[in-house]
Symmetry: C2
Subunit: 197 residues, 2 copies
Amino acid sequence: MTQTSIPGYTYGTPQVAPSPISDADFALLKQTVLLGDEDLRHLRAAGEVLGPQVEAILDVWYGFVGANAHLVHYFSGADGRPDAQYLGRVRQRFGQWIRDTCAAQYDRAWLDYQHEIGLRHTAAKKNHTDGVVSTASHIHLRYLIAFIVPITATIKPFLANGGHSAADVDAMHAAWFKAVTLQVTLWSEPYVAPSVF
Amino acid sequence: MTQTSIPGYTYGTPQVAPSPISDADFALLKQTVLLGDEDLRHLRAAGEVLGPQVEAILDVWYGFVGANAHLVHYFSGADGRPDAQYLGRVRQRFGQWIRDTCAAQYDRAWLDYQHEIGLRHTAAKKNHTDGVVSTASHIHLRYLIAFIVPITATIKPFLANGGHSAADVDAMHAAWFKAVTLQVTLWSEPYVAPSVF
Ligand code: HEM
Ligand code: HEM
């Protein structure tokens, strides 16, 4: 978390409800995605490389979403058409998320905000943060999981722009993949009954 | 699908219930994981490389599961300890799955079997195929999603064993990643209410 004035970005504030995941369960999840100390080092390096490229990365991701009617649908307003203000507000938080993903301490404040982001993809909280009236009440779980691919695949060229060796770029990319999958896993929690998560 | 005599492997048979996914929705999902014709070509090449290494790959995956109590738990018998026969029966189908993943035609028979595999990870069908009495009634969704990482990360060295160029190994690996994420996405369907999938 860094101090920001991004509208609706509530990381580290009391507005964020506690994550239901225990420390022990989270440790097992990290173990399952093979996330270790080496990966943290590579994530920090990735943060250095990606920081100055955040807007260019968002251009690629927003370009992909905008080119796919079934995806941009989730950013629709009351009339069912893309809501430019909604897209713009989420874009700012998405940029911050890139930085946060690379800087993650995996502490309780981080876990709580993962819980919040998960909720913001479900009917429980989608549209609330930006006060949007949208024809899309939630993001379907299928796309949340499927998005692991575009969010991981498209980052590689940006990681390669930092002058690191091919081996280091591969290591940063592998760490990014683990970090993204870990987060999507946490975000899936409010989609299901507690007993099956 | 290939003709096999693997116990409990019912791909392409009338015992498999139809997948609820429409062709149109499946096309959008493939588009979302960026899976194109080039990837199919690379998956076929991956199949050539991985085919003779299936047992060695399963050794790695089973080694990982066996080394983690929270994972091997799902293969427990009535006494809560790992059931060697259950592990062995699933292993055969898992080996066939590697071949099927590389040979996938993405037709209705394939989709129906994805639905079946998803169900076999939930309480609806887990333990039924092998007539097992287990203390684990279902695989928790968190690990199903998290497993995208080990199943993707550990395959790379095996892909590199086929004498292909580094660029081709990367392309096969990228295609494998898309194929695995696509399948886990489909398998998540029986975990959630139809409206949120
Ligand atoms: C790997 C998968 C995904 C990642 C990493 C991701 C990331 C994010 C982030 C960081 C935010 C802002 C969180 C905040 O408020 O601080 C967000 C919100 C949002 N995302 Fe995603 N997202 C993913 C999948 C998707 C998909 C598949 C869609 C559908 C197109 C989508 C649509 C949205 C929408 C509409 C919001 C705003 C929700 C609200 O009203 O607050 N996301 N996402
Ligand atoms: C990427 C994620 C995963 C993949 C690709 C995968 C693959 C498979 C395959 C191919 C089968 C056999 C399907 C058939 O019957 O033909 C299977 C069954 C099974 N898997 Fe998974 N699996 C994944 C995640 C997991 C996880 C996280 C666990 C927990 C350790 C797990 C435990 C099991 C068990 C216990 C069975 C037997 C289910 C039954 O009773 O029929 N799987 N899996």
